[in-house]
Amino acid sequence: MAGTNPQNVVARSATTTPSSQVRSSPEVAKLIDESKCIGCKACQVACMNWNDLRDEVGHNVGVYDNPADLTPNSWTVMKFFEVEPTAGNLEWLIRKDGCMHCDDPGCLKACPAPGAIVKYDNGIVDFISENCIGCGYCVAGCPFDVPRISKKDNKAYKCTLCSDRVGVGLEPACVKTCPTGAIGFGTKEDMVIYGEKRALELQERGFKNAGLYNPQGVGGTHVMYVLKHADRPELEGLPKDPSISPLVSLWKGIAKPLAVAGMIGAVVAGFLHYMKVGPIEEKEDA
């Protein structure tokens, strides 16, 4: 992938012809099992270590979240939620936030720069930074509020699902480092089966609404969660039924070809009108 010849590109931003995709590899997915997560942030450290990212030392905002949100230098962040799913029953939910690698990526749909966002056949959605123009359309396109524009270079950044590691047969850095095995990685098919099985186990142990978060509104994702309260993902900042905003779909969907056809049509109509009706001549009779 990165640094090699990418011949498995199944979608490329602002590109109307097929990209090179003769190679094929199985769809992959990362599965984050919330019930096994202890909030140690080793994944955050592994991410900055592998990707050579160093965020600014921030401020303690009164909770464990640090940094408080995703940034151009922090592509994954542990988010801590103190919630009462049922009254008087406090739970501490911890979710590893980051790019979901949608099967139908809103960022890619919105991006106007050819090749700045690609999706590989293994499902990874990657930002090709040298093609990024810094317009921020991906931010509007994303249903999960993930891309961050750097103030340093005006480029968009987010989790790559370690495409450079996965491309050479390794698992993502966060998966490699997780001390409790809360982050799994494998083929999408296997991860779905494993996640559903794990959700059943949790249901047997009292979490009646445990389930797999693999939202179909974006065609499913290549980062999935096993949630203890899958019926209420909004408890921990996840949209319930995410999909690309209808406004973005309109703008980068039907409006695009319609507008171009309309503009060309107007010019053609002008030519035809001039041919058929002819000009209004200036008469010399004043």
Binding site: A14, T15, T16, P112, A113, P114, N131, I133, G134, C135, G136, Y137, V139, A140, D145, I149, K151, N154, S245, L247, V248, L250, W251, A255, K256, P257, A259, V260, G262, M263, A266, V267, G270, H273, Y274, V277, G278, P279, I280, E281, E282, K283, E284, D285, A286
Partner: protein, 209 residues
């Protein structure tokens, strides 16, 4: 330039300057903007220095366009208000398009078609300006809620297309109605042109008010 004996002054130096500066800026804004709208038009970024430079320049060009147009707007907007006698002309617009010029009732300095186009262009430009600020990176977009930015992106695109279509109509009208172009190039039109196309204005200019 002084009008000759068979000519009338239609636009003074300032109005022509505002018009042409607006036109050039609008062309630059349209090219750089359309480049980011449809992939088939991305090649237009070569005129503004590539993708990143297009993203940087487009909003500034847009603001400059709106600013210069404002001067033009202030000079001509009063003359573009709909008048009572415009109704009859509007009803016969189909006849004009079929080439039946003789069927058209007399109008003043601007016919209702021109007036409508003026207001469509003015409103589109206002929409483009406001929504443009909402989506302007890196300076403003981050301070607005994402749903508002999405609405702005859609409205900006719609207003831009309406604007381009209006300009196509505007340019075609100038080609279609012979003798029109000199109004904006030299500032003058022939009396014959005025009498034929804007009879009430011709009367006003030749017989006093």
């Amino acid at each position: 330039m002084k009008p000759g004996p068979n000519e009338l002054q239609r636009y003074d130096d300032r109005e022509r300057l505002y018009h042409w500066v607006t036109a050039l800026l609008l062309l630059a804004a349209a090219c750089s903007g359309m480049a980011l709208f449809h992939p088939s038009l991305f090649f237009l970024t070569i005129f503004t220095g590539g993708g990143a430079w297009t993203r940087i320049l487009h909003p500034f060009i847009g603001v400059a366009t709106a600013l210069v147009f404002l001067f033009l707007y202030l000079r001509v907007h009063n003359e573009n208000k709909m008048a009572e006698h415009d109704k009859a002309w509007s009803q016969k617009m189909g006849e004009l398009l079929r080439g039946n010029k003789e069927a058209m009732p007399p109008v003043g300095k601007y016919n209702p078609g021109q007036k409508r186009l003026f207001w469509v262009i003015s409103i589109s430009l206002a929409v483009l300006l406001i929504t443009g600020f909402l989506m302007w990176r890196p300076y403003f977009a981050a301070s607005f809620p994402i749903d508002l930015v999405r609405v702005a992106l859609v409205l900006h695109a719609i207003a831009a297309v309406v604007m381009v279509l209006s300009i196509i109509v505007h340019v075609y009208a100038a080609i279609w109605v012979k003798g029109t172009l000199s109004a904006m190039t030299r500032g003058t039109v022939t009396k014959a042109w005025a009498k034929r196309n804007h009879a009430l204005w011709h009367r006003e200019m030749t017989q006093g008010k």
